[in-house]
Each structure stands twice: as C-alpha cells, then as structure tokens.
C-alpha cells in the first residue's frame, strides 16, 4: 500500500510524495491545502486500493459462492479487522461500517437511544459539539421526551469539568462528546469523562471524527461505550465510517434499518435478525469505500506515530506563533491540550472575504460556522476562518498562509 518505511523519522517530503493532489496548481500557484479538518487529501495507496478492488475484485459481499464474491468479502472483512486493530477493539464484530460519523451517531441515537432513553432521562452533550453530535440527540429528545443538557466551555475553549460533574447525575443516560473539537482543536479528557459518566451509570459516545487522523486511539483504554469516525478525514474516502460499540451493547440494540444482509431469516410473520455487525449493515455496503478505509489505516499506521505527532505539533505551534504576530488577528481556541486546528478572526474583515482572497493565492482554508452554530453563539462570532493541519503540511504552508493574509490587508486596509 504505502511505500513509506516504518521508522522513527518523519520525512514530510516523502509523505507529501504520496499525495498526488498536492502537486496541483491553483490559479497558477502551488496548492497550499490547509483544510484537512473538512476533508483530508488521499494518498496514492488509498486511490490504488480502491481502484484495484473495482478492477479486480468487485462482487457483492456475503452473498455469492463464486470466486469474486469470496475475494470481495475477504477484502471487505479484512478492512473490518484493520479498523478493529486501529481502535484496539476487543472483537472485529464491534466494528460496524456506516456512511460516516453522522450516520453512526444517528444509529446510536435511534437504536440504543430509543430503547434506553425515555421521558425524565437526560442526554448530556457539550457546547463545542458539531451539529452532527447535537441534532440526532435533539431528535431523540423530541421523540422520547428526554432532556438535552449542555456542558459549557471556558473562553479558551476548554470543557468545564466542574460543570460536567454538576450536570451529570442519575438521570443522565448518555453522554455524547467530541474527542477533538473541529473548530477549537481542543482535545477533551475522554478518560475522565468516561469515569465520571460510568459512576452515574451513563453510557458514553465519543465523536472521533477529528481525533483519528492525529491521536492514537485505544477504545479499551478510553473505556468508552461507542466511538465513531469517518474515513474521509483520516486520508480515506468519503461515504465510509465506523461505529465502534461494545459487544454487549450492540447485541441487545435493535436494528437501525431493515433490508438485506441484516437478517438470518425472513417470513411474513417474523424476521430473525442477523448478529452484529451485520444487524446494522442493511443493504449492499460501500465495499470499495471499506477497502479504501482499510488502505487509509495502513497508510496512517505505517507512519511512525510519535514522530508524526511531533511534526504536527511543530506545525501547529509554529502556526500559533506566526498567526499571533499578524496585526489584528485573534486566535479562537487556545486550549492547553490542542490538535491541528487554527481558527482565527481578523479585525474588520469577514472570514468569507479572507477565504476568497487567499484562495487566489492557492491557499485553501475553511470559513464559516463549521457546522457548530451553538459554539459560534457562545464565542459571540458569526464565523471564523480555520486553517487545519494534516500529516503533509509544513511550516512553509503556514508561511504561505501568513503571506496570503498580507494580501487581505492590502484590500482591507
């Protein structure tokens, strides 16, 4: 898959060679891609694995008895085992393939939530959640009469654990919290949160969408009940993601959708459901996507983790220093524990205008509310500009961003 040799040295130029799109020119200028938190770019290994599957192995999984059906099933189930090892889950059947983080959260809300969360019960989320970790719980609360409660943050963008402890109680049935904030970069103390929740008998779902490309994930060490993420933010394709759920929980959860592959037997009186994970994978799945996710896991795990983390931290710290020195610029999100996100506002210039102007310099960032409107309200901002860092970004990318912000000042003096 990846031609990077595992070593303790992180060679960013060699890593960049794996990403063909980084050679593109944008308006005649080299692409400076600082939008990996929206979606990451894809390494050649992922592109090749998906292409190989479609060229050589494609057939429907779990159904056929012919040669290709077997090859396709092996490839698909092989990715499940890769995801299991990636998360350090105890069993492969604890890995359910879904479309992405959003679908995984909806699945838990509608399956686990509808069965276990009723009137008088409470779901606890935080002020820094993405809409996809707010709206499914609001929908559940509307359906069941349960109450949604929200843990506030401080001005640096850190979760107030005292408030968390105050808000959690015997009524709390589920805590849904992001591992890393997509706007602030804050890394939340998941182990502490899980401990506090479990004392109250509450289950914990962790939104790992922004964490998986940057942090080593061990669901058993974290102790969480559910962990969810998307493939496309960790160098894999869109349309594929993972719901990890503890075996006993998945066993007793009702199906989310009905259809093929999720049944053992069907007659018009009664259908017997298949066991997890198949119970939750109705219909022909995203097979090439799962293969691509497997290749993305191969790519990520081929990088020396400590050295990758040190490299990303170096670019983040350098970016923090360089952006702080830009006149009129204010960084949003200054948590002590932080990963790979540089949100900022610039005096007198709306983020949307920043995005348009620096795009013409080849610099791609995200501007807007980042699907976190309640967080924007808390911060008192309509929007921010956000530069986010992936394994392939360098200090030069930060320099290009700062130079492009100079062009913004030329226009908005």
């Amino acid at each position: 898959m990846s031609d990077i040799q595992k070593s303790s040295v992180f060679d960013v130029e060699q890593v960049r060679q794996n990403f063909p799109i980084l050679g593109e020119k944008i308006y005649g200028k080299p692409l400076v891609y600082l939008d990996s938190a929206a979606t990451s770019q894809k390494p050649q290994g992922v592109i090749d694995a998906m292409s190989y599957f479609l060229l050589k192995e494609n057939a429907n999984v779990h159904r056929g008895v012919h040669y290709l059906a077997e090859r396709a099933t092996e490839a698909y189930e092989g990715s499940r085992v890769k995801a299991q090892l990636f998360l350090n889950a105890e069993y492969a059947h604890e890995v359910v393939f879904v479309r992405g983080t959003t679908e995984a959260i909806n699945l838990v809300a509608q399956s686990y939530g509808k069965k276990h969360i009723g009137e008088e019960d409470e779901v606890l989320i935080t002020e820094m959640e993405h809409h996809s970790n707010i709206v499914p719980w609001q929908m559940l609360c509307e359906q069941t009469g349960a109450r949604l409660r929200v843990v506030p943050i401080n001005d640096n963008g850190e979760l107030l654990l005292d408030e968390f402890e105050r808000l959690i109680g015997s009524k709390t049935k589920l805590v849904a919290v992001t591992h890393v904030s997509n706007v602030l970069g804050t890394i939340n103390p998941i182990r502490r949160i899980v401990e506090m929740a479990h004392v109250q008998g509450a289950r914990v779902l962790v939104d790992g969408a922004q964490a998986v490309p940057h942090l080593k994930i061990d669901v058993q060490a974290l102790g969480c009940d559910f962990y969810v993420f998307s493939g496309h933010k960790m160098y894999g394709p869109t349309g594929i993601g993972v719901l990890y759920g503890q075996s006993e929980l998945l066993d007793e959860m009702p199906p989310y959708q009905g259809g093929g592959d999720m049944i053992l037997s069907v007659n018009f009186k009664k259908t017997i459901y298949n066991k997890p994970p198949y119970k939750f994978e109705a219909g022909t799945p995203n097979m090439a996507g799962a293969v691509g996710l497997g290749a993305a896991i191969d790519f990520l795990t081929s990088l020396p983790y400590e050295a990758l983390a040190a490299h990303e931290k170096d670019v983040l710290d350098y970016g923090t220093r360089m952006l702080s020195a830009v006149p009129g610029l204010r960084l949003i999100g200054t948590a002590h524990a932080k990963a790979s996100v540089l949100s900022f506002v610039l005096d007198g210039v709306h983020p949307h205008d920043i995005g348009t102007i620096i795009d013409r310099e080849g610099v791609a960032i995200r501007v807007g509310h980042h699907c976190a409107q309640p967080l924007m309200s808390r911060l008192g901002l309509p929007a921010t500009a956000r530069a986010s860092i992936g394994c392939y970004n360098t200090r030069q990318d930060i320099n290009a961003l700062v130079a492009a912000l100079g062009k913004v000042r030329e226009i908005f003096q």
Partner: protein, 161 residues
C-alpha cells in the same frame, strides 16, 4: 494583485462594506424582513417605508461579509424614491449582472452605481452574498418575514430564480 480580486473588491465596494449607508433600524417602516445565509452566517434585517407604492425610505442592519454588506448598502442608496414595481425589474438586471458579468448581454440601463458589483460573476460561490439583500427586500415587499438560503455548494441554486 489578482485582477479578478480587484474587480470583486472595488474601492466603492470596500467603502460601502466598511461604512454602510442607511445602516439603521427604521422606526416607521411599513414592512421589514430578515435574511439569513447559513453557509457563511450572513444575517440582515431590511426595513422599508412604502408610501403610495413608492419606497420613501429604506435601511438595513446586520452582519456579514463585505460583499453582502456592500450590496445591501448600495441597494438602499439605489432604491430610495423608486416605485415598487421598478424594484423587481431592477433586481432582474442586477441578478444578470452578478451571474453573467458586465458582458452578459443583459440591458444594464438604470443599474447605475450597482455596476461596481459586476466582478462577482467570476466568483460563483459569492453570488448569494450579493443577492441576499435583494431576496430579503422581495420578501419584505411580498410580506414574507424570513429569507433562508439553503446550504448549497453552488451560488446559483434554485433560490436564484
């Protein structure tokens, strides 16, 4: 500086975005409406005072990018004293200017100062920023109180009709 950017952010546009005209709440408005663009968080409230089918006064408040603010500001300065029925025809011409540019073949008579927005056609993702004020005005005049642009990746969507 890139030419398209120069055309987009002309001095008049920057001036109107930083010092928007008619930027206040009209206490004696006869109709008003709110406009939202959830993609970028633009939000404005438009106030119109109509008398005998004529826009006697018009003003707005809100927050948004330079394009949305400048467009709203320029719109208010262009419409004072205009008859209500002239507004829709003018919007049609402005819309053509924003989506097709100055050489789009549309008759631009009467567009006047609004022509400074003609650089936007090179930036299709930003067309909605410029049309928000106009859609909100149409809603105000038609008695709808809220304009919501759906999130799309294309500035020219079904709302741009």
């Amino acid at each position: 500086m890139n030419n398209e950017l120069r055309n987009l952010y002309q001095e008049v546009v920057i001036d109107h975005s930083m010092r928007p005209r008619n930027f206040l709440k009209l206490e004696d408005s006869t109709c008003s409406a709110e406009g939202f663009n959830p993609l970028c968080g633009d939000h404005l409230t438009l106030y119109v005072k109509l008398a005998d089918g004529v826009i006697e006064d018009i003003a707005f408040q809100g927050d948004g990018c330079a394009i949305s603010k400048a467009s709203a500001s320029l719109m208010t300065t262009a419409l004072k004293g205009k008859k209500q029925e002239e507004v829709f025809a003018l919007f049609g011409r402005v819309h053509a200017l924003l989506t097709e540019g100055p050489n789009g073949g549309e008759n631009l008579d009467g567009v006047g100062k609004l022509a400074v927005l003609s650089g936007i056609w090179e930036f299709p993702l930003r067309v909605k920023c410029a049309t928000l004020a106009w859609h909100t005005l149409r809603n105000a005049l038609e008695g709808n109180v809220r304009t919501d642009f759906n999130k799309t990746n294309n500035g020219v969507n079904n709302h741009e009709s």
